[in-house]
Assembly symmetry: C2
Homo-oligomer: 396 residues x 2
């Protein structure tokens, strides 16, 4: 089947058009099309058939595919096409596997993988993230919440779940630009030690904390791998990790949970917040190559299986799926990116703009269509029989 036949034979609820290199236009559905996908070269058509999402992404980046309308919806069609017959060829799969394995998350590998994305420049991220520079799923009480508000609500939601209280010591694995530590320290009077291997992020976090007058005895940003957390021998009251697990790699989950068990006190709570998916599956080849090298998006069972061990008493007390919140978050980011598109294009070029647009819109489409989920997994390291019986306090 040709790509055109596949796309127009799908049971897709929105009307759309496909333009082919020969100038022909093919309409699906009734009424004004919501979007138009323009395949401008024969190479683009054959790349999509051979390489699926990787072919689409690369052809879009080199302007051989254009999309009129929201690329979010075109990608949603693409997700259906991936279920409906478009598969990477065997040789493409092998190529992906070899490249993917070369980006494994050894300590050195993790550093390279993280630098590749998070050290693109703080100024760039400041153009489309919220004021606090939070690059993880926000928490919306209503769909109309501003991004700024929803990001603060996320921090508060995490603080409540781990039951922060004045004087607690908290260790954070993967702190981004440092927003959680600042919020927790100021709102709850806790001491936070935050780890991150992105040099640019840690420098930004330190400068910001200093500017806010927060002492390093209250918030300490450590430029190091989460695997060094137990080196100090300290036992913390709480453990928090927001949006790091995606970069940890499946083979290291047991190590991460061992670290939680050994570096927290009996009865401590730990939050692991991560993108997830419905069933075990390799990451999307385009996303892994261009956006998050070395990433792995786990299913919930993959997140939870390595928690379980009869040698320790780490166990799940709560799981919340915030899937739709991430779609809303990504909508905000994409709107802000488009507002600043000229600035970004001038500095980074059109291919970069298209890469980021495709990434943000395809991720939003993924969360809307259950391709991606967002799990907050709350753990307890041993029992705490004095914990509140219900979750009511989180909703006051």
């Amino acid at each position: 089947m040709s790509l055109l036949n596949i796309l127009t034979s799908l049971d897709f609820p929105q009307p759309f058009q496909i333009k082919l290199p020969d100038g022909s236009v093919h309409t699906h559905g009734q009424g004004k099309p919501d979007f138009v996908i323009h395949f401008k070269t024969e190479a683009a058509l054959s790349d999509v058939m051979r390489q699926a999402s990787l072919g689409f992404g690369e052809a879009y980046m080199r302007e051989e595919i254009d999309v009129e309308g929201d690329i979010h919806d075109a990608v949603t069609l693409g997700y259906r096409a991936l279920q409906g017959g478009i598969k990477p060829s065997f040789s493409e799969k092998i190529k992906f596997l070899i490249a993917y394995l070369s980006r494994r998350n050894t300590r050195e590998g993790s550093r390279k993988n993280i630098e590749a994305h998070y050290d693109l420049g703080n100024d760039f991220y400041a153009l489309w993230l919220d004021k606090e520079m939070q690059y993880t799923c926000a928490y919306f009480k209503t769909p109309g919440d501003t991004l700024e508000k929803a990001q603060i609500q996320k921090l508060e939601h995490v603080c409540r779940k781990v039951r922060l209280k004045k004087g607690d010591t908290v260790v954070e694995a993967g702190c981004g630009w440092g927003a959680f530590a600042v919020y927790a320290a100021r709102k709850y009077g806790v001491k936070v030690r935050s780890y991150n291997i992105s040099k640019e992020q840690i420098e930004f976090a330190r400068a910001r904390a200093k500017k806010l007058g927060i002492k390093s005895s209250q918030v300490e940003y450590v430029l190091d791998d989460y695997r060094t957390i137990p080196d100090s021998g300290k036992k913390y009251d709480k453990f928090v990790s927001i949006g790091m697990l995606e970069h940890v790699g499946l083979e290291n989950y047991r190590t991460l949970y061992d670290i939680i068990a050994t570096s927290t006190k009996e009865g401590s709570r730990a939050m692991v917040h991560s993108i997830g998916r419905i069933a075990p599956k390799k990451p999307d080849p385009w996303l892994e190559k261009y956006i998050f090298p070395g990433c792995y998006i786990p299913s919930l069972s993959e997140m939870i299986t390595p928690v379980e061990s009869t040698d320790r008493d780490l166990h799940v007390v709560d799981v919340e799926n915030l899937r739709y919140h991430y779609a809303l978050t990504l909508d905000h980011w994409a709107r802000r990116l488009e507002k600043n598109v000229k600035t970004i294009r001038d500095q980074y070029g059109e291919a970069f703009v298209r890469m980021f647009r495709l990434y943000l819109r395809s991720a939003a489409a993924g969360f809307r269509n259950d391709e991606l989920l967002l799990y907050q997994v709350l753990l307890s390291n041993g029992r705490d029989n004095s914990a509140p019986l219900t979750r009511q306090a989180w909703y006051k």
Copy 2:
């Protein structure tokens, strides 16, 4: 090491005494002992060493072990001893495995296993369960809630989680004495079809619904295996299973989730409420032999792994661990059992009383000590993008 040496060498927070068959008394800890375990025969001592919990349970049932004080605390010591050196011998393990396999949950096997416990007599269960005859974990908003109140709160909590609304059709797998169906039908105006293979429970449920004036067009109790749910070809709005998974057997979980996926509509919610444990482990041999033949208590990963399949879109939206609620529920049941102990002893004999006492108190100790957990796993069959963003409505 002798049993005495093992028990008195454990780091156990409560003071206790061990009495041996020779009349000697051995004290552990300071102050008045919280409990005394009296091993009255040499056989009891050697049975515990060889058969661990099975040896203890059988010796207690035949009055060769007595416990003064709350047997809950003696069992807690027992849990420590199981971690601290008391292990069933290899031949005992093999014996258990052979017996366990003979009680597998084929359709015929399940019927026998369920009859063995649930058809002991409705009058017996009425002596210590709540008015609605709910034989599953209650939901306490405060520790002082009455059992009656907490059991109604559990039903309401489940109804809110699956988002029952007027006119919904609901299928229930494993309905006990029928309380959920009655509550949901009367409070939410839904139609419920409830399956159970216990004849006595179904007859009770039908009689009760009739007495309450509930029409069979609103609540229908079906005496059949959950595996026959898809036979009618109906697509329900909601799926509920409270306390059945323990009897399903690990090998049938995928079948259960297939049934949820095929017998509910796109975007439907399903509740699977089950006892769980921290890590995969065979059931306790005494409990499996005397109380719940064929039972298997899964870890959370064992519950969730078979949910995941790229062939369908069933996924977890929420997990709540209600461990401590079950300890409180079991405390209530045990108190009511003791209140009626003479009636029960007259009808069933002392061994039966001891069997039920040990079961209820050891289970409470298990939930207090993280040996046992209680998971409410909420699933979505495909996406529902109109679902509320937060869980706030459950806590109003």
